[in-house]
């Protein structure tokens, strides 16, 4: 049994542009989805194209299941035709002169014509395209186009799916509606996938694992929760959207707990750090509880961090409201609209912010 790992270590230099240098591994046996996540210009698409064989790296190696796809030193560059990957570029690139059936069947080159037809039928059913078989792509909605593109990619039984911003071509309501659907289709397809996105909610919904890219490099790779809850450094923390990232100093440590000075305040977090270490502290806005300061109302609390402060500003973002609180350092809390009204939050109000110790993440 061959080692079912995709090993990527590539470097691509652009003249008068950035250098993309990424290294990561993906277990292809698990049929998981890896999200390449990062701001635009961080090199996500370049990596995807290098994997598809559409772009030639300047250095490095790409090995899939012990089969060398690319090796700069040995001058090996397997052409896209022989890599058996399903590639979905931005905008899907459906063939506009072919109908849905012809698009799906385009890459099937084995078996009799009867077998090819039944393979197309199978995909039409899997991706719920019944009744649309004779339509041209121009007569399909964005979501239908996406399903056709997925069907076409799956038709060749690819060993790996590569999706470049699969939802960005759709308008916002469709995009939000299709996130969950795409996830289900990827699971149903049973093929390992690498999905490029710059959208945090897309990344969270679509991926089992995430690789965060910044400035042409993979900064952190891990399970979704691992990366979003435990960003490896400040850049990753900013990219994955941990709202509060502030510097602090370790004051003391005992029994797996550390006390930190952060701005004017003191925080308790999990971990073991030498006293005096300068660290970064990240707290997700969702992990902050806001309490109205009412004398005598608070009983005993499990939350270790009780931070009196003053509301600086209130910013609505979708269904959540982001409250900036000055509690010795700037802290962002996300609260729902009903909570905002019940608490009568407004700038200048005195509040107490509660944060459990495990939600305070220390980046060394």
């Amino acid at each position: 049994m061959a080692d079912p790992t995709l090993r990527v270590e590539v470097e691509r230099r652009f003249r008068r542009g950035p250098t993309i240098a990424a290294a990561f591994e993906l277990d292809l046996a698990a049929a998981q989805t890896l999200v390449l996540f990062g701001p635009s210009g961080s090199g996500k698409t370049t990596i995807l194209r290098c994997l598809a064989g559409l772009e030639r790296p300047d250095r490095g190696r790409v090995v899939a299941r012990e089969e060398i796809w690319f090796d700069a030193a040995a001058n090996i560059d397997v052409p896209p035709q022989r890599r058996r990957v399903g590639y979905l570029p931005q905008g899907f690139a459906l063939f506009p002169h072919l109908d849905v059936r012809a698009n799906i069947g385009f890459g099937i080159d084995d078996g009799s014509s009867g077998e090819r037809a039944s393979r197309v039928d199978e995909l039409v059913r899997l991706l719920r395209l019944d009744g649309l078989e004779r339509r041209r792509p121009g007569k399909l909605s964005g979501g239908q186009q996406q399903r056709v593109a997925l069907a076409r990619a799956l038709a060749r039984r690819p060993r790996l799916l590569l999706l470049d911003e699969p939802l960005s071509a759709l308008d916002t309501p469709t995009r939000e509606a299709l996130r969950g659907e795409l996830r289900q289709l990827l699971v149903a397809g049973g093929v390992p996938a690498i999905v490029v996105t710059h959208d945090r909610s897309e990344a969270l919904v679509l991926g089992d694992r995430v690789a965060v890219m910044a400035d042409g490099a993979v900064r952190q790779i891990g399970s979704m929760l691992e990366v979003f809850d435990r960003p490896a450094d400040e850049t990753v923390a900013r990219i994955v959207g941990v709202e509060t990232v502030v510097p602090g100093t370790v004051l003391g440590a005992s029994e797996g707990l550390v006390r930190l000075r952060v701005g004017e305040a003191e925080l308790v977090a999990l971990g073991e750090w030498p006293v005096g270490t300068a660290v970064l502290v990240s707290i997700r806005a969702e992990d902050v509880i806001v309490l109205r300061e009412t004398p005598g109302a608070v009983g005993t609390l499990s939350a270790r961090n009780r931070l009196p402060g003053r509301v600086v500003s209130i910013e609505p973002t979708g269904s959540l409201v982001r409250a900036r609180i000055d509690c010795g350092f700037p802290l962002v809390a996300a609260v729902t609209r009903p909570a905002l009204e019940e608490l009568e939050l407004r700038p200048g109000l005195s509040v107490v912010a509660l944060v459990k110790a495990p939600a305070v993440h220390i980046i060394g």
């Binding site: 052409p79 896209p80 035709q81 690139a93 002169h97 385009f106 890459g107 041209r136 990619a153």
Partner: protein
């Protein structure tokens, strides 16, 4: 009164030139549309040269090249034992070169308009470069290919200067319609010139009208996407 022999020769020359340029012009056009080599402008300039050169200049160089001592003429003589200048084959070579931009430029514009991501997707779906060209590029460029073919046909039909220089005026071999008309006018036979000129005008107009009508019909379904 109509010089049917000349009309038939012109149509034969135009059709053969169009067929040759379809085969020769498409790879050149595809290269121009896709290449990023620094010397691409040089190739483009060579292809476009017949647009600006007087036919007599082009005809002169072709005549020299096709003469018994010229490189083309010697090659031809070595291969077939025959003479290239003042023959139908020589005329065909000259027409192909003279009409090159009329085929290559519309082809190239159409090829360049085909979204690169369609080609890349086809490659990842296992289709080779030539297969992708035939299954994706050609159908999506049908309008431009048709335009190039019609322009080539019409342009060759009306060719005069180059024909005169390299073909001369041999009935059934190199005497095309335009030469025949010129010949009649020189002989002050205006009625004969008019009789031969009219079919040329009618055929040219009919070909262009039918083409534009066809193009309007066939191209629309996939050019009006989204």
């Amino acid at each position: 009164m109509i010089d049917w022999q000349a009309v038939w020769l012109s149509v034969r020359l135009a059709a053969t030139t169009t067929a040759v340029l379809l085969v020769v012009g498409m790879p050149i056009a595809y290269w121009i549309a896709r290449s990023r080599r620094p010397w691409r402008p040089l190739v483009e300039a060579v292809v476009a040269l017949p647009l600006v050169l007087p036919p007599t200049v082009l005809g002169f160089y072709l005549l020299v090249a096709m003469g018994p001592n010229g490189p083309l003429g010697a090659l031809w003589a070595g291969a077939t034992g025959g003479r290239l200048a003042f023959s139908f084959e020589g005329l065909l070579v000259a027409s192909v070169i003279y009409s090159l931009p009329f085929a290559v430029q519309p082809f190239s514009v159409a090829f360049a308009a085909v979204d690169r991501s369609l080609l890349e997707t086809s490659w990842t779906l296992g289709r080779s470069g030539p297969a992708t060209f035939l299954r994706i590029v050609v159908p999506l460029s049908a309008g431009g290919i048709l335009t190039g073919m019609v322009l080539t046909f019409a342009h060759t039909l009306g060719e005069f200067g180059v024909v005169l220089m390299v073909g001369g005026n041999i009935p059934g071999e190199t005497r095309t319609v335009s030469i025949a008309i010129y010949d009649r006018v020189q002989a002050l036979d205006y009625a004969g010139a008019a009789a031969t000129a009219l079919p040329l005008l009618v055929v040219s107009f009919a070909v262009l009208a039918v083409t534009y009508a066809l193009r309007g019909l066939t191209v629309v379904p996939w050019l009006t996407r989204r």
